[in-house]
Amino acid sequence: MAGTFTVAAKELRDQFGSKRFLILFAVVLLLSTLTAYQGVDFIRNNENAGFVNIFSGGQFGFSFIQIMVFFGPLLGLALGFDAINKERANGTLSILMGQPIYRDSVINGKFLAGAAALSTLAVGTIGILSGLAIPMLGFGPTLGEVTKILALALLTIVYLVFWLSLGILYSVLTKRTNTSIMASIATWLIFSIIISILASVVASSMVPLPGGGFRTGVHGGLGDLGELRMSPEFMEAMEKRSALQSNIEKISPTNLYEEAATDILGVAGGFMKGMGFQEFQRTLTLTEALAANWANIATLVVGLVICFSASYMKFLRSEIRPGD
């Protein structure tokens, strides 16, 4: 274990000193701070809103959760994509492995350092947001809200570390950092953007909307298009389409995280039967939220374990070749 901690300490120092990490941390912190102001504004104008709304940025504004959904893969992959192949490319791997340490110390140390850096980023950002919001609101979170915030922090760490594991897997599978960075960017684009587009296209083609307009009511005059209403058939089709799209999107870890995080905070939006597209606030307890999202959370954890195990096995079996 001594080798693992020595490698981890060096890697952690490298991460905290790297421009890559500092830039990403600064961007996340800046955007999160802006969403916190938005959240504070929402809380002031809604007497039912609670402290945790600073993380949801109101209800449909750009929130901490959405920042993590979008930047999370980038953060995790950025810290892992060159963990091993950079050592090979720089010729430091053979020097490192030439020391009396077990081979798994290297990959374990790198994983621990990346996980620690991402945990610092997640906890640090959440802590700073809370610290900024308390004086602005004049009150802090209740005990129940504190547990929700802690659960959110933990979920965010698991989510970020999943991406780190995937990045490390790329760094083990590829010899060149150019290849692993391209794989990482492609993964980020697929899970952050392309899957949503694909799910929308598939859902639209599989569930066509019924013909005819959905505006009904009496025209009041020129320019008055009448009251906006949706026919029951239209509503039903939209609900089916939304459910299908949501199910397809579940293959993306970003969606798993978003759903779970939103439920944990007790803020959600979507189509509710008979109400159409609505913003609504659900006040699930933490236990209810965890019960409703255990599959999402378990999938993230299993994905993390699979990616890291695959990296571990591959690295342990790989040969040190001349020039590594």
Partner: protein
């Protein structure tokens, strides 16, 4: 009695159908500088990676300082160091920080690390640049820090793979002198892989020549030279004032002379030592003056090429 610090038994490494190292049986004695020679792709580096436990042999095994390279590879790395070809330390760290990191990986205490970092940098002549970043160093300075990193654990054996590669003549000489000094003063066993045969000749006590994964020969340089000349027979170079007509024929008829080769005013007479007197007498009787007479010395390159071509 000199102990064998490295011994291999049929050490073999295959990558699919390609055999990189083929049944290698090699012995390195304690305190010697052993030159490991061979053309590119001969299997030298693969062999030392196996000896360090960084690559698993397909068949066969080896013992390094008493530790089995398969069963106790981690223990091997406590007593042996490697400076691989094209290897590097961490560019973002200073020379001292790099050595400190290597020291930590070797479980050295803080006090021991501090003491040895100063000592090792002093030995390799890098004390002045202890706090400079490694990425700023020239190739020669990097090699010297690399050697310091290999020595910080105070190993019994060090494997140096092309340590002078890419160095200018001054850097090459410095590294060569450093290796000899470490061997003489600290009793360090050195396994040196190098393409620079004259460097090996100036540095090594014994050499092993490997080709296509097979060890062709393993001997002291002195014995290799003897073998080149066929034991007691040797080539003697005579530089003459002139080569009179008929002299070559007369020399060839002397008992014990195997062959005579002429290059302008030089004659190379190959034969036994007992024929030297008759040869000299015949030359002077033919009216030529002997300006120089010396046994021909074989370079390691000639020795290497002989075994390489035979192998």
């Amino acid at each position: 009695m000199v102990e064998n610090v490295i011994e291999t038994f049929g050490l073999t490494k295959r990558y699919g159908d390609f055999t990189a190292v083929d049944s290698l049986d090699m012995v390195v004695e304690e305190g010697e500088i052993y030159g490991f020679l061979g053309p590119n792709g001969a299997g030298k580096t693969t062999a030392i990676l196996m000896l360090m436990g960084l690559s698993v042999p397909t068949t066969g095994t080896g013992v390094v300082a008493g530790y089995d390279i398969i069963e106790s590879s981690r223990e091997v790395r406590t007593v042996a160091s490697i400076l691989p070809e094209y290897s590097s330390l961490y560019g973002e760290l200073t020379a001292a920080q790099n050595l400190d990191y290597i020291g930590k990986l070797n479980d050295l205490t803080k006090d021991v690390r501090e003491e040895r970092i100063g000592e090792m940098l002093e030995i390799v002549g890098m004390s002045e640049w202890a706090d400079e970043k490694y990425e700023k160093f020239s190739r020669g300075m990097r090699q010297r820090v690399g050697i310091a990193a290999a020595l910080i654990k105070q190993p019994k054996i060090v494997f140096l793979d092309e340590p002078t590669l890419g160095l200018d003549p001054v850097g090459t000489k410095e590294v060569r002198e450093l290796i000899i000094r470490l061997n003489r003063e600290q009793g360090l066993t050195v396994v040196l892989i190098s393409h620079l045969l004259n460097e090996v000749q100036m540095t090594c006590d014994r050499v092993g020549i490997i080709n296509n994964g097979k060890l062709i020969v393993m001997e002291t340089l002195e014995n290799l030279t003897k073998e080149m000349t066929g034991g007691e027979e040797r080539n003697v170079e005579f530089m003459l004032s002139e080569v009179p007509p008929g002299l070559v024929g007369d020399l060839e008829s002397i008992e014990g002379v195997k062959s005579v080769t002429q290059e302008k005013d030089q004659l190379f007479v190959y034969g036994g030592i007992e024929s030297d007197y008759e040869v000299s007498k015949t030359i002077t009787e033919n009216g030529a003056v002997i300006l120089l007479m010396r046994p021909k010395e074989y370079s390691l390159e000639e020795i290497f090429m002989k075994y390489y071509e035979e192998g």
